[in-house]
Symmetry: C2
Subunit: 211 residues, 2 copies
């Protein structure tokens, strides 16, 4: 019988490879709620915290939900090349600190990043083997209702977000997976994302993540 301890290639020994998962989708689709629920349920993953200049929303924790920084601090990070990607979204800066992603990947855990659709497209170019998940609402009506419920959006701003969402929906084709985040079905959304991660870990052709 062939030894399973030999030094030669052994198909019984498959080393798990790092997995970089991007959760994206239009504004208001529920990216934050989804990631928070995954955390609550104790799903093991490393979440890469985005740096942003946007104001903190009630309940958000610095260093856990976002790094809330000033525009000056953000500009300094850009100049020092510390960001994997960054963008101006609705007049506010958002960016991913490169060092955090590297550290997270080296831990061997699944690394999850939350990105707007524009940021996801950038990551697709930088890291072609990242797993890109597009989160969408069940309908534009649900999306509008959620944005209104935030009460942080002026009518003009809301209309702009909906118009952007329509454009972003057309970019779905550049993603690997699409998950519908239905009202009152957050756990189904989380379950589908977990299934995608589990399936990706079973892929024969493993992904190569280099930053």
């Amino acid at each position: 019988m062939a030894s399973t301890e030999g030094g030669d290639f052994n198909p019984y020994r498959r080393a798990p490879q790092p997995l970089l998962v991007v959760i994206s989708g239009p504004s208001g689709v529920g990216k934050d709620a989804t990631i928070n629920r995954m955390r609550e349920l104790g799903y093991p993953f490393h979440f890469v915290v985005t740096a942003t200049t946007r104001p903190r929303r009630p309940g958000e924790v610095h260093g856990q939900d976002y790094f809330f920084v000033s525009t000056d601090e953000f500009t300094a990070m850009i100049e020092q090349g510390e960001l994997l990607e960054y963008a101006v979204v609705y007049g506010e800066y958002k960016g991913i600190p490169r060092a955090h992603v590297r550290e997270a990947l080296s831990s061997g855990q699944v690394v999850i990043m939350r990105l707007d659709v524009q940021g996801a497209a950038t990551v697709r170019e930088l890291v072609p083997d990242a797993v890109l998940i597009f989160l969408m609402a069940a309908s534009e009506e649900e999306l509008a209702r959620r944005l209104r419920a935030r009460r942080t959006e002026s009518p003009a701003r809301l209309e702009k977000r909906l118009a952007t969402a329509r454009q972003e929906m057309a970019q779905m084709a550049n993603f690997d997976y699409v998950v519908v985040n239905r009202d009152h079905h957050l756990d189904d959304t989380v379950h589908q994302i977990e299934a995608i991660i589990m399936a990706e870990r079973c892929r024969v052709k493993q992904r190569h993540i280099e930053l």
Copy 2:
């Protein structure tokens, strides 16, 4: 706001497409146990029953586990072109009735077929977009132990199956996914297969199944 009822392309309406899943792997790896457990747990799928000339094992039900047919009946099915694929495995015929697969796919359910590694390779050629899952044991020792536990194998036959398994492991690269079916962890195996199916249903680029 864009209507979600319009006749134009609507990204909020994605029709689920048929999914053809092949569960394969070396003899003794647990293909039958896995599919039986999925059935017990009530997972919704349509199982395509294989026709075979091999003797019925204790507990196996005709028409549910296999169609147990004579060599004459099998030869007639080959001659009438009724089989999607067939092969001689360890001196016995095994084949998939084409009509069953077509019927199952038209039901819209996930269609699952159990095939030996040779049969899976044939299906890959016939239906390139089928989802191929390679089931493997955690080690060759576990595989040998399971084959011995069947008590239907002579020592020579057992050694032949293990030699074949070694060759079949090398064909894993032609599969989409690999799932390790560990002793006493059948539910983990089932959970991973269900995750793969759920993830495949979330794929943006949908698979095209034609027979």
